[in-house]
């Protein structure tokens, strides 16, 4: 990689409540303008990684106990969370975390705080959001808590659009979305990335779609990266195919859930 990456994570360790270690020397990088996927099983520490980057760990009694995180060349530890956001690092948190008591439009208004210090009109960005997600436009006066899961996810991404950041951390954007909407949202993610040159770090369970938009992938288990590489290479990896893409059936095709055995092969990287 020639240019300096927009985000660099080096040997980071994270501890919750001074006792529970979750990240154990994790390193990764997001090159400018690229989408990087971060996969891993439940509880591997993906969300924790994102929170460590956006400095939100303290709210959950967590702390980075070792390592460095650099965003656009500066240490993130030196900045407070809202300053990081205003500097262009936007975190779309797991579980959407929309303000359920505010209306849809007020949710977008809240995101304008991320634009403080930026030029350009927020109103134009609102238009853009409503163009990407017409559903939101029809429901803009409704309290967001009453939206369906998918609509809430749209709103969460919409807020990121309003913020106009340089780097978006996306935590499981496909969670609970219909297949069609997943495609649409990922298409929009790809579009945002292409049109606005926004870099993204994408955490996903749906490996197939994640690989469709990302250029590089990391896979983590219990707090550290176990394999990484360009997406093309990862999709050829036997374990990735079986455990993340569900492709390990006979003749390499998709295997059916009806045929699942009651015993499991262990992942190579756990041994």
């Amino acid at each position: 990689m020639a240019a300096e990456p927009i985000l660099e994570v080096n040997n980071v360790e994270v501890i919750y409540k001074k006792t529970i270690q979750v990240l154990r020397g994790l390193s990764l990088a997001v090159p400018r303008g690229e989408i990087v996927a971060l996969l891993g099983s439940n509880g591997a520490g993906k969300s924790t990684t994102l929170k460590a980057i956006s400095n939100l760990l303290a709210l959950e009694n967590g702390a980075v106990s070792a390592g460095h995180i650099r965003f656009a060349g500066t240490e993130t530890a030196a900045k407070r969370p809202h300053e990081l956001v205003r500097a262009g690092l936007f975190h779309v948190m797991e579980g959407r975390r929309i303000f359920d008591e505010l209306t849809v439009e007020e949710n977008l208004t809240a995101a304008t705080y991320a634009r403080d210090g930026k030029s350009g009109s927020a109103a134009a960005r609102f238009e853009l959001v409503y163009e990407y997600f017409p559903n939101l436009h029809t429901r803009r006066g409704v309290r967001a808590g009453y939206l369906s899961g998918g609509e809430q996810q749209m709103l969460a991404i919409g807020r990121a659009l309003v913020a106009e950041p340089q780097l978006i951390l996306l935590d499981e954007p496909s969670l609970g979305l219909s297949p069609k909407l997943v495609e649409e949202i990922f298409a929009i993610i790809a579009r945002i990335n292409a049109e606005q040159r926004v870099s993204m770090l994408l955490v996903e369970q749906n490996a197939a779609v994640a690989f469709a938009v990302a250029s590089y992938g990391y896979i983590m288990e219990t707090g550290r990266i176990v394999i990484d590489g360009p997406v093309e290479r990862l999709t050829r990896d036997q374990d990735v195919r079986e455990f993340y893409l569900g492709l390990g059936g006979h003749e390499g095709g998709a295997k059916s859930y009806r045929d699942i055995k009651h015993y499991k092969r262990r992942k190579r990287w756990l041994s």
């Binding site: 939100l56 956001v85 303000f99 359920d100 008591e101 809240a110 995101a111």
Partner: protein, 294 residues
């Protein structure tokens, strides 16, 4: 007994006047609740602190009344900032019961401190409001009540406008709704917290000066906060218009109950009203309904 319309009118006016003070104090309460989801049971004691600070500055240091009032507001603001920083912020994320008990504790500490510094004896504030009686038509209205009502009305109007037209209103509510998410929108969450506490404590202190001017000050004047609690519950914990309407309503009900039933019925009437309102509208008249979904 024939109805004495003039009395009814005068009593209603007096009730509304007190209601203005309730509304003002309730506003302090609502601001904190809106931004931090803290039910601040110490509001009555903060009001007392404001009144005593004014007393200390005006009677003790012999400052002119306006300087003493500004000083008292500053003291209360500082108090708010310190309390928010040292006590409330560490409680982020704890259960609402815990946080509200913290404010109960704070109230107790304040009472104790005031008693240590100024003893438990009651005092009177120096006079600073015009003394000429106010007549509306034939009806008499105590001047202090009238002027207090004016002050309260102006302050509340300012806040209503602020919440309506200022982006900060959204930031406040967003922060209350989900702190982590508000942070991730670029909202300065600790800043919002501090601001809310500072402003609310100043409003409460202002109310305290007015209340003290009317009824004198003592270490038990915090019970004023109890009526205010009824006001915010009836109006809705997070609603500025609710504070206003609730304040006037409770003021009126207390006044009428006091006259037509007797003083011992005042509290009974307001609390009965409280339960009745809650049975019909569980979130008060204007409070936001909690979203309940599965």
């Amino acid at each position: 007994m024939e109805t004495d319309w003039l009395l009814l009118f005068e009593v209603s006016l007096a009730g509304l006047g007190t209601g203005g003070l309730y509304a003002l104090t309730a506003l302090a309460f609502v601001v904190i609740y809106k931004a931090t989801r803290v039910v601040n049971l110490a509001i009555g004691e903060i009001l007392m602190l404001g009144a005593y600070a004014f007393f200390g500055l005006a009677a003790g240091w012999a400052l002119p009344w306006w300087a003493a009032a500004l000083g008292a507001l500053a003291v209360a603001g500082l108090f708010g900032a310190v309390v928010e920083r040292t006590v409330i912020r560490p409680m982020l994320g704890e259960s609402p019961i815990s946080v509200f008990m913290v404010t109960v504790g704070l109230g107790s500490v304040l009472i104790g401190i005031v008693e240590i510094v100024w003893t438990a004896d009651p005092h009177r504030l120096p006079e600073f409001m015009p003394n000429a009686p106010v007549f509306i038509g034939e009806a008499f209205l105590a001047p202090k009540i009238a002027y207090s009502f004016l002050v309260a009305a102006v302050v509340i109007a300012v806040f209503v406008l602020l919440f309506r037209f200022w982006r900060g209103g959204v930031a406040l509510r967003a922060t209350a709704n989900d702190q982590a998410a508000a942070y991730s929108m670029g909202i300065n969450v600790p800043g919002v917290f501090s601001l809310a506490w500072v402003v609310a404590c100043m409003v409460a202190a202002g109310a305290g000066i007015l209340v003290g001017a009317i009824g004198g000050i003592s270490s038990t004047m915090g019970v004023f906060g109890l009526s205010v609690l009824v006001v915010v519950i009836v109006g809705g914990l997070d609603s500025v218009p609710g504070a206003l309407v609730g304040g006037l309503l409770i003021g009126l009900v207390e006044a009428l109950a006091g006259i037509y039933l007797g003083g011992e019925y005042k509290l009974l009437a307001t609390f009965t009203l409280l339960i009745a309102v809650l049975m019909v509208r569980p979130y008060g008249l204007f409070g936001t309904h909690e979203i309940e979904r599965l």
